[in-house]
């Protein structure tokens, strides 16, 4: 029997209040995500239960009980306070998936800080943008990434503390830098946890848009209500499960369902901190007897590419429930997983701003392969037309919209209230994705409603890449669009017009690609560049990305009446 029971019954009886009651929360109570995921679980009698099995490349495997996690998160919170950090300070976590990332996240929340996780592959420009906007006071990093931080610290006056978790003393630390060794630090059994309330800011996740710089979606401690109940009902986690979420906590899936969701449910999770390798992934599932696996369609398609034979070499019989998030899960991937694992992947839909799953396929509910599923009980969703923002008829494509009010909804964009407000139309939150609803109430994803590129489940803003491209001496103008890709759904493609005196060559192509990879991130790196004499523009000089995008996707270009020199 699934935790959710019957989806239809839940639709009638569900209320967020029920989730609050299960967690023992009443309006006005203190609510701290760090406390709920550690101390509370220990009080429930699970202090000796394993909270985390961890394996990294070239390191000895580690494991931590809930009580050890409670103490270590206390120690981190205590250390941060001792340094002089206070509640409300933005504290960035810029780490690979090491245990310090997971416990650091909860430690920051316990001391009242706002956790700002950033993907450790980000380059200096991406870091500056996000740390400058948040006026981040401290960054927790590791030796490997310290050079990147050192290169930018001088342009970030608000950044006062650089905490290095694996400093070995071989090279002297510089001003502002502090060595912190979680396993050797003072073990703090009793910690004065910050008495946060429902609306106290907790997490700041940056997300990309079509225009302007990335925006910091700000969440609050009350989000844990949504994360708790969706983990229980959608991921179907139970007390004896071993759970594996493959997402990096630099992105929202890695925090909502890679930290908060499993641990507030008191469930053991495991983390594998290595690059993608099918054999190693299967070996990991076999070794830890993983029962519930939450991954990304890109990863599933990459596994599909490796074939069926390799799967047979491993005992994956422990797998009980499989879910996916990031971009639409194609029907072939659902059918493939059913064939090779004996279980279908269940697609889930949500985004940084929603903080938790809002539309999903549920255990025991019939899956229509390729569909996003149905709205989570407690979420009012619909599809709106693009003119009056009113619900469309069954089968008509429109904008996915949600009625505001669920606990984990973002509360604002940091420093950008105007953009936050612009996301609401006619009383609905507009997700920015297009879909239709069929006669059975299933949602079917069509695509983004803007120019944002979804590559491997990560949103990349074309403006940020185009701005960076213009800093290359050879680039006169550029336009960036998503190009179809069989594994990543979309990859970044750049159209570039060169400045006079520069010639197209393989070397220049590679130089520009590497320029973006290092400046922004591998995700933002164009996988392909097309050199063009000029870019399509409107008569007012605005580059028409949609023309280029339509060309890539083989779609109709649409109205070209404003095209210059057509």
């Amino acid at each position: 029997m699934a935790n959710l029971g019957s989806y239809e019954d839940q639709l009638k009886s569900f209320s967020w209040k029920k989730a609050e009651e299960e967690l023992g929360y009443r309006a006005g109570d203190d609510i701290n995500i760090g406390e709920y995921c550690t101390d509370r679980i220990c009080r429930m009698g699970k202090k000796d239960k394993i909270a985390l099995y961890w394996e990294g490349f070239g390191s000895e495997p580690k494991q931590y009980t809930f009580d050890e996690m409670r103490i270590l998160t206390n120690s981190i919170g205590h250390y941060l306070r001792k340094l002089g950090l206070r509640d409300g300070d933005r504290i960035c976590i810029f780490l690979d998936r090491v245990p310090e990332l997971y416990f650091g996240f909860l430690g920051i929340l316990k001391m009242g800080g706002i956790a700002q996780p950033l993907f450790s592959a980000f380059g200096p420009e991406s870091l500056i943008t996000r740390l400058e906007d948040a006026r981040t006071r401290a960054i927790i990093t590791q030796k490997k990434h310290l050079p990147k931080v050192r290169n930018i610290v001088d342009v970030l006056p608000a950044l006062e503390f650089i905490i290095v978790v694996d400093d070995d003393g071989s090279k002297p630390l510089r001003a502002k830098e502090h060595a912190f060794h979680m396993d050797k630090e003072e073990r703090v059994d009793h910690f004065d946890i910050f008495r946060s309330k429902a609306e106290t800011p907790s997490v700041l996740h940056y997300t990309s848009g079509t225009t302007g710089k990335p925006k910091g979606a700000q969440h609050v401690h009350y989000s844990i209500i949504s994360q708790y109940i969706t983990t229980k009902y959608v991921l179907d986690l139970r007390d004896d499960d071993i759970y594996w979420c493959t997402a990096d906590p630099g992105w929202v899936t890695g925090t909502s369902y890679g930290i908060i969701g499993p641990w507030v449910n008191g469930v053991t999770q495991c983390v594998l901190d290595i690059g993608f390798n099918a054999e190693n992934w299967y070996k990991f599932i076999e070794k830890y007897r993983v029962t519930v696996w939450y991954s990304a369609p890109t990863a599933v398609r990459a596994l599909m590419k490796e074939g069926d034979e390799i799967v047979k070499r491993f005992d994956l019989s422990s797998l009980r429930h499989l879910c996916c998030v990031g971009e639409p899960l194609n029907a072939e991937a659902v059918i493939w997983s059913e064939r090779v694992f004996g279980k279908p992947f269940h697609d889930t839909f949500w985004q940084t701003e929603t903080g938790s799953i809002v539309i999903s396929n549920y255990p025991k509910m019939k899956i229509k392969p390729g569909s996003m599923g149905k709205p989570f009980p407690g979420i009012t969703a619909t599809v709106l037309d693009t003119q009056k923002y009113e619900p469309v008829k069954t089968g008509t494509v429109g904008l996915i919209a949600l009625k505001p009010g669920w606990p984990s909804m973002f509360r604002t964009y940091w420093n950008n209230e105007a953009t936050y407000r612009s996301k609401f139309k006619n009383g609905w939150y507009i997700c920015g994705d297009r879909a239709s609803i069929d006669e059975d109430g299933y949602y079917w994803f069509v695509g983004r409603d803007d120019d944002v590129i979804n590559t491997g489940g990560h949103l990349v803003g074309p403006f940020e890449i185009e701005s960076a491209l213009l800093e290359h001496p050879a680039v006169a103008e550029s336009a960036v669009v998503g190009k179809p890709d069989p594994v990543n759904m979309e990859v970044v493609k750049a159209f570039i017009a060169l400045k006079p005196g520069y010639q197209v060559s393989k070397e220049l192509n590679l130089e520009i690609i590497n320029f973006i990879r290092k400046k922004l991130s591998p995700l933002a790196m164009p996988q392909e560049i097309e050199f063009v004499p000029s870019l399509p523009k409107t008569r007012s000089g605005k580059i028409m990305r949609r023309v280029l995008r339509a060309q890539e996707w083989g779609e109709e270009v649409g109205d070209l009446s404003t095209l210059e020199n057509d």
Partner: protein, 84 residues
């Protein structure tokens, strides 16, 4: 073959390690599964090899496994293009 491996190894160190990162990389170090070159960046490594040796590596051959170490890459280039 040793010259080929040296070229690849030098390029990987120069392009995929941060300045000041003293991670030791050898011909057998796992590049993809070791997290030194991620699956997105693998494209830039492929483009480097194509530009350097004026070849075109089919996508089907450019797998994470084939690119997972300097040795693997050198073997691929030798087998497919007879580059020593």
């Amino acid at each position: 073959m040793s010259e080929l491996k040296k070229i690849i190894l030098d390029y990987v160190k120069k392009e995929y390690l941060e300045e000041g990162d003293d991670t030791e990389i050898t011909n057998t170090t796992p590049l993809i599964s070791g997290g030194i070159v991620d699956s997105f960046s693998m494209v830039s490594l492929k483009l480097f090899l194509e530009a350097k040796y004026n070849i075109s590596i089919p996508d089907a051959k450019a797998t994470p496994k084939a690119f997972d170490s300097v040795d693997n890459i050198a073997n691929l280039l030798q087998k497919e293009f007879n580059i020593q």
